[in-house]
Amino acid sequence: MSDKMIVKATVNGEECEALVEPRTLLVHMIRESLHLTGTHIGCDTTSCGACTVLLDGKPVKSCTILAVQANGREIATVEGLETAAGLSVVQEGFKEEHGLHCGYCTPGMMMTVTALLEENPDPTEDEIRKAISGNLCRCTGYVNIIKAVQYAAGKKEGAAA
């Protein structure tokens, strides 16, 4: 009935393979098969966005996608943000502006923001607020999170200029 299936996906630019049951959620494959535990499980009910990853560049909730649905697709997780050149501008923004308190929502928050800045490099405060409206921060650290995004946007613009 539910034999295990092989999932082949590109995760943070690397070809990965996992053997999972069809009912395995993408977040479990990422954490337990690929051992990338930066992606958090928060509410497990499609409410909080702590498990946000990029699926083909779009932020989605990995607790509400089956691992088998990632077959042949590209996944980006928080582990892929840092490069040999150092922290990504988004990571740097969160560090510089204290965009985290307990840190639980941070990986998901940063993935959503990374996608936002790809699509809209110079978002208004309103656009930032709307973009992160699916990611809950229960420390309610939104003010600094918004500053972090603005820092990252400015830095990105500076790098592009």
Binding site: M1, T24, D44
Partner: protein
Amino acid sequence: MLPSTFEYVAPTSLDEALQALVAGAGDAKIMSGGQSLLPMMKLRLASPGTIIDLNGIAGLDTLEEVDGMLHIGALVRHGEIERSELIRDRYPMMRDASLHLADPLIRNRGTFCGSLAHGDPAGDWATVAATLGAEIHAVGPDGAVVHSAIDFQTSMFETQLGSDQILVEVRIPAPKPGQGSAYLKIERKVGDYAAAAVGVMIVVDGGTITEASIGLTNVGPLTIHAADAAASLVGKSIDDAAAFEEAGRLAMEISEPSSDLRGPEEYKRDLVRVLTKRALRTAGARAQGKEA
């Protein structure tokens, strides 16, 4: 939380999907975005024996106008509707609804058609589809079937879609000259159902309303088609504030909200009255080329 075990089928054609659906003999479910189905499976409110995933089927992502109809394929995500220039320019009611539907992450995955097939009685798209006169195109073992959006939903999580049918596309009549529309929703927080929401479509010719349609979300057992309120507007001037007031009152009268965490019944009724008026003003301004 994990769903109970199921067999996963990833067809690459509709024919294959239909075969799997028939083979599943009533115990198979179609998945497109999975943003409602998968949470229900995790909570074990649904335990289908087979999941048939549409995501590998090419050609289901159409979002374009063809011969006077907007075609929305089964894999068009809410977010694509939100970001589409065609939708922004020609179907403002859809854009309004897309901006306040679930949250941005869910909108990147969930689909318009899946939302209709799911049949949630509080779904925003059901109201939009009914108010814009949508056709719901499905395929079954005996070929193509077309349902009308206005009576598509039959009860909570039940629609006219047969258990051996796959919803493949929704078609919405392209706007007529002088058409304006709007969708207004009051929600407590991002991702919540509407405390109340109203969809309005009107056609204005020479300052007179010639056609109107009004739908109400989550203020009754299913989407409510406020036919009397809409009919009361036909022949009225687009500047007739009293006519808008009357339409709001009639919409309020036909609504049957229940008191819950989103507010008491009286509050929701009044929301319907006020939202109807406001949506009419916005739709009217849009019909006249003045964005409100």
